[in-house]
Structure formats: C-alpha cells, structure tokens
Symmetry: C2
Subunit: 150 residues, 2 copies
Amino acid sequence: MGPLDTYLPYLLNRAGTRIATAFGEEVRPLGATLQIWRVLAALHERDGRRMGDLAQTTSIEMSTLTRLVDSMEKKDLVARRRDPEDARVVVLHAATAGRRLTQRLLPIAERYEKVALQGIGPKEAEQLKAALRRLYANMDGLANPRKGRG
Amino acid sequence: MGPLDTYLPYLLNRAGTRIATAFGEEVRPLGATLQIWRVLAALHERDGRRMGDLAQTTSIEMSTLTRLVDSMEKKDLVARRRDPEDARVVVLHAATAGRRLTQRLLPIAERYEKVALQGIGPKEAEQLKAALRRLYANMDGLANPRKGRG
DNA sequence: TCAAGATATTTGTAAATGCAAATAAATGAT
DNA sequence: ATCATTTATTTGCATTTACAAATATCTTGA
C-alpha cells in the first residue's frame, strides 16, 4: 500500500475540509459562514424555495438547516413564509440584509475559485468539476444517503 | 451567477463529505471509523510515528487525535510509547488488533476507490488526484492553517 | 365530517470537533 | 543547579451537527 495521500477519499475529504474551513474564516468578518453562504447562494439562484428543497441543494441536513434559518431570520438575512397553497410548507425568501450580504459574498466566492485553481488551467478545472459531480453521484447507491429510497 | 453546483468549493466539500460518510458507515461494522482508518493507514505506511507527525499526515487535529488514540489504545489497536531520546515525545505503534484491522480495511479502501471513480478512467483519475493535491497546497497561505508561520 | 396515513418542518439529545488553557519535559543561560 | 523558554501532548469547554422523536398540516376514503 502507498501512503495515505494516494487514496482518493482521503485527498478529497482533506481538500474539501480545508477549502471549507478557509472560506469560512474568510467570510466570518462579514458575519457569514459557509452554510449561510450556501443558503444565500441557493436563494440567489432562485428565491422562495421551500426548506426541503434548500436542504437538498445545499447539502445541509434539515434539522441543521432549521436552526440555521432561525439565526438568519434574526439577522434579517431571510424571511420564512408559509405557503398559502399548502400550510405544511415553509418557503424562504432573501431579505434586505441577505441580498446585501450576497452581493458582498459573490466576489469572495469567485476569488476563492481562482485561488483554489491556481496552476490548474481552465480545461482541467472543468474536468475536475465534472469528475466531482460524477463522483458524488457514484456514491448514491452506497450507504449513507437516507434519501432516494430508504 | 450560476447555480451552487458550479462552484468548486461547494462541489469539493459536498463530494468530500459524502465519500467520508459513506466510507465511515461501511467500516463501522468492523468497529472502525474514517479517522481510525487514517491513523492505521499512516502507521501501516510507517510505524512508530509521533503524535504531531500523525496529526499532520492524517489531517486530524491534535486534541481530537489524542482522544482518538485513547480509544484505540483501549481496543489494542495501537500502543503509545515514550521516545527514550526525548521524553516529551510520544510515538505510536500499531498493536496486534490494529494490524489485523488494517488488513481488513485495506481491501475496503481499494474498493471505495474503484466505486468512487466509476466511469472516470485511470488517466483522468490521476489528474483528479494531482489536482486535489495541488488545490490543497494552494490553500496553504489562506486563512485557517494555524500551521506554517503562525 | 372524521380517522388514517402521508408529507414537511421543528425540537430533544447525544456525539464529534476545534480552540485555548494546562501540563509535562527538554534545552539554554546564569 | 535553577529559572525561563520552547516543544509536545493532553484536558476543559463551547459549538456544531446529526439522528430520532414530536408536531403540524394535508389528503383520501368512509
């Protein structure tokens, strides 16, 4: 067997953790976190999403998301509304401070993208992204996901 | 801005988390965890490492590692020894049950490698790994690492 | 309309994790 | 030999996070 850093799962998790931590520290001064960014980014892409949808697209667990949204509501980053069509559903909208914060986070996200990919070349970068999507999908059948089909 | 899953940090963290979780569940029946595997793999590569070295190569935080090693010692997976040269130093050795467990984990790690990389091709896989190492290194200067130069 | 079952979200609780302070031992200066 | 400084590891504590149970609402069928 080779050293630990020939193993893909290790490399992947290590890189993923570090970039997440680094990004998190970068945005802390703005009062944001990685998770907050994900929610705002998702709402920026499409506003008025339901909680379940958000949990799915941000990969944040539902119970975690609930508490996160609690705190984001207090800061006027987002607003919960009941869906009039179906009162079980809560839809989330970006609020004033939330939209402002999003505008400040976007350039940081772009910059991180660049820094992370230094010396990797645009073509390879696309391949990397494609591989990561593929890899995520490959894990679908295996363990963990209490999604799909229990 | 595009959807969240065009952002590298998101893709990376998402994939890294999922593969870690899946692997963790896979090895749980054997009484192992992802972290345990990392320590054992590191010791398999080179036995008798000091704690600081292990923390470095496994990307496990020192305080976390201490507690992890406590529990691994109880299971006879590893043994702590004081370095006679410098009594501040603790060196870690794989113990009997640890070596046995390592042998059982190795094929699982190999298999995970294969599953994760389904449809990705050996050449692209190598590029992916190289990119992940590079990317990890790229993050070095940025935030987070309380390493390097304080 | 009411009960039964399905779906969406929230709360309770315990485990994992990291930072900072504390401990232990070595090294160097007086 | 003793004190101050440095290095290595461990413990205290607060935060984060996930799983599971609880709650709320909707839908369907009698």
